[in-house]
């Protein structure tokens, strides 16, 4: 589904991704961990197409197409979804109208007619139930005055509505209390299928107890320095990242 080869990227001339290689297949869940400033969120931003990030080398293929060649909205319409680390507030724009616009834009891209109001509401209701999403939040302005947890839950609810092929969750667990974390994780687990894939970016092993990954990668200094299965996450939780940093320093000195 997603094939990242030797991806290099920079912000304002500063290199942040220095040769990422990652292959994600349908039905898989990949966790990306790593210390602060290692480039985890940058990777998410580059994949979603944030303007400030300049790709300097490498390639990314998404479902056989050149992802880097697409505008951010086309990436979204092709089925790439980013759950934001900090979802923004957009005052005066109702959550429900926003979702309807998004759903219909994606449908239009695939040559489908706009969804009828009734069908849309039915879908909305069934997803609300599935995701245990508070219906009152639906009629409010997009994230305006939402608590941190509500914003994250709204993002995951949008994910359920838009049914992406690949969902990237950028530190969705940060700022969530344990109950919210459970609800969000349960929601994600319900959305998992053999046809879609997830990249979960997190600092903590805690989230991975609820959403069990198939693979765990450690990102450090703009590169994936170690890959493994879910046991790697446990090892990191126990030992921290320092031992990895030591290993890397011994192998190849950082420029």
């Amino acid at each position: 589904m997603l094939n990242i080869k030797n991806l290099h990227a920079a912000v304002e001339g500063n290199a942040i991704l220095k040769g990422i290689n990652l292959n994600v297949k349908a039905g898989e869940v990949h966790a990306i961990m790593g210390p602060n400033g290692s480039g985890k969120s940058s990777l998410a931003s580059v994949l979603a197409g944030r303007e400030a990030y300049e790709v300097t080398d490498g390639s990314v293929e998404f479902e056989g197409k050149d992802l880097l060649d697409m505008s951010p909205e086309v990436r979204a319409r092709e089925g790439l979804f980013l759950a934001f680390q900090y979802p923004v507030e957009i005052p005066g724009v109702s959550n429900i109208n926003f979702l309807k616009t998004a759903v219909n834009e994606i449908r239009a891209y695939h040559g489908q007619p706009p969804m009828q109001a009734k069908a849309f509401l039915d879908m909305l209701k069934s997803k609300q139930k599935l995701m245990e999403f508070d219906a009152n939040l639906m009629n409010r302005s997009l994230n305006e005055g939402f608590s941190g947890g509500e914003k994250k839950r709204n993002d995951i609810f949008q994910m359920a509505m838009l049914e992406p092929k690949l969902a990237i969750m950028d530190e969705t667990d940060s700022g969530l209390d344990i109950d919210a974390l459970r609800v969000v994780s349960a929601g994600v687990n319900k959305l998992r299928s053999k046809d879609n894939a997830f990249i979960i970016i997190t600092h903590y092993q805690r989230l991975l107890e609820y959403i069990v990954p198939d693979f765990v990668h450690v990102l450090y200094n703009g590169r994936i320095v170690k890959s493994g299965t879910k046991e790697l996450a446990l090892e990191l939780e126990e030992k921290g990242y320092d031992w990895l940093k030591e290993d890397i320093r011994l192998e190849e000195p950082v420029q």
């Binding site: 979603a48 979204a76 923004v88 957009i90 005052p91 005066g92 926003f98 994606i106 997009l142």
Partner: protein
């Protein structure tokens, strides 16, 4: 007729001294502003002596008054002598079918969702017999007549309702108010007159009717609306369709009068030609609008969506004279390209327990300059006066500007005046968030802007709220890269 002949003969003779000829068939007066032109206009309209005197007094004041110097833009030089002050209203049928109309204009109509028949009227296409605007107007008029509502052109009101007109004309905006108001008094072309009798609730938005009949709104419009005790009226001026006009200067005057327990809701959608990207051309829209809550418990509410004109300069205000009266001002002003808007309101609290509410939303894009200027004045007898002002500015891009000049004068220590202001930029983060959900940047900006202006747009009559939303989108087209 012969009286008119005489006057014109006389005029023609006298005109000669000033170097131009006029005759009875003339549709357009030669350029220039002087007493003779004013006499000519008054005669053309068959006005009574008192109105001619009133016009002449306006002209005298115009000559004495100085140009304002406090505005937050460079006032362009207006050559008053190069303007023609009279043009007979004509039926401008220019085309046989819509196929002949500028496709660019049609595209805009399409985007605004203006019904086909209205598109034809607005662009000057002959209207089908099925949709005979005269008969539609007649139907409305009959319904209004039965309720005793007067709604007619100013010219008609001069002939049909001279007493009412004389009683109220110039009582809210004095002739000496400012130089452009004085000019309007001298040379006003036409406009509307509305009178709602005691206890009558006007059953329709006067907009519908108005739009059908507003082919020639004119350069120096004059509107007077009187709502008698316990009555209600909602009036919409203007049109979301792009209005091209050869006249660069527009100086209108609007006066509203609300008696005891009466309510007037006045909505404006202004979309005059803004000039091109370099700031060439475009309308100067210098308007004086004011209402008076004369009676107790009365209410006047202004709502404006200003997207057009090269320069918009106006402060629709309310004089809160009656006890417990309420004044409201809701405004969205968009300046894009090289547009300038210096707009806001004046709320003058005189009566006890008077309340006012001001919601102003400025939007600046490209090189647009947007100024909010407001005055909240509380007189010594305005016990328990209350004001709430919220004044927000939104910037799109980094070459535009937003400015705020709120003035507060209070002479009563029981008054409570609140002012809130915010300035924000459309965040790249907001646009990116919407992009990431499949929405392109242009639509993303539309959503953000409409969300921002929602509180004001909600005040508009339903059908215009929808059009106004689309209008904001069209105005801001091309403002994001």
């Amino acid at each position: 007729m012969s009286a008119e002949q005489d006057i014109l003969q006389e005029l023609a003779g006298r005109d000669y001294e000033f170097g131009f000829e006029t005759d009875i068939e003339m549709d357009i007066a030669p350029p220039g502003l002087n007493e003779d032109i004013i006499r000519f206009i008054s005669a053309k309209k068959n006005e009574p002596e008192w109105l001619l005197e009133w016009r002449l007094k306006g002209f005298q004041l115009f000559q004495k008054l100085a140009m304002p110097t406090w505005q937050n833009f460079k006032l362009p030089e207006v050559d008053f002598q190069s303007v023609s002050y009279y043009a007979a209203p004509k039926n401008k049928v220019k085309y046989e079918s819509l196929d002949e109309v500028d496709p660019e204009l049609l595209r805009t109509f399409e985007k605004l969702g203006i019904p086909l028949e209205e598109q034809k009227m607005l662009s000057g296409v002959a209207v089908d017999a099925v949709f005979d605007s005269v008969s539609v107007a007649t139907t409305f008029k009959k319904q209004l007549n039965e309720l005793g509502i007067i709604f007619c052109s100013f010219t008609e009101a001069v002939q049909e309702h001279p007493e009412l007109l004389r009683k109220y004309l110039g009582t809210v905006v004095p002739q000496s108010d400012n130089i452009y108001a004085a000019l309007n008094c001298a040379v006003f072309s036409d406009g509307s007159f509305v009178y709602i009798p005691k206890g009558v609730r006007c059953p329709m938005e006067l907009s519908t009717y108005f739009r059908i009949n507003a082919k020639n709104t004119g350069q120096f419009e004059r509107t007077l609306i009187v709502a008698d005790e316990g009555s209600y009226v909602s009036y919409l001026e203007g049109c979301t369709a792009p209005m091209r006009d050869e006249n660069q200067l527009h100086a209108a005057v609007v006066e509203l009068i609300a008696m005891d327990n009466a309510e007037i809701k006045y909505s404006t959608v202004q979309n005059w030609y803004p000039g091109d990207a370099d700031g060439k051309g475009g309308i100067y829209n210098f308007v004086t609008k004011r209402g008076i809550c004369k009676g107790k418990n009365s209410k006047i509410s202004w709502t404006q969506v200003e997207t057009g004109s090269a320069i918009t300069w106006k402060y629709p205000g309310v004089i809160l004279q009656g006890d417990n009266s309420i004044g409201e001002f809701y405004s969205v002003a968009v300046t894009s390209k090289r547009q300038v808007a210096d707009t806001g309101t004046k709320m003058v609290h005189i009566g006890k327990n008077t309340r006012s509410r001001i919601i102003s939303k400025g939007i600046s894009a490209i090189h647009g300059q947007n100024t909010y200027r407001g005055l909240v004045k509380v007189g010594p007898n305005a016990t328990n006066a209350r004001n709430f002002t919220q004044c927000d500015s939104l910037l799109i891009g980094d070459r535009c500007g937003a400015h705020t000049f709120p003035y507060i004068e209070s002479k009563n220590n029981t008054a409570m005046v609140e002012h809130e202001a915010t300035t924000s930029k459309i965040g790249e983060d907001q646009v990116f968030y919407l992009n990431q959900r499949g929405i392109d940047s242009e639509q993303a900006v539309n959503m953000i802007v409409n969300g921002y202006a929602k509180e004001v747009l909600n005040q508009l009559p339903m059908e215009f709220a929808v059009e106004a939303q689309k209008l904001l989108s069209i105005t801001l087209e091309g403002s994001v890269g």
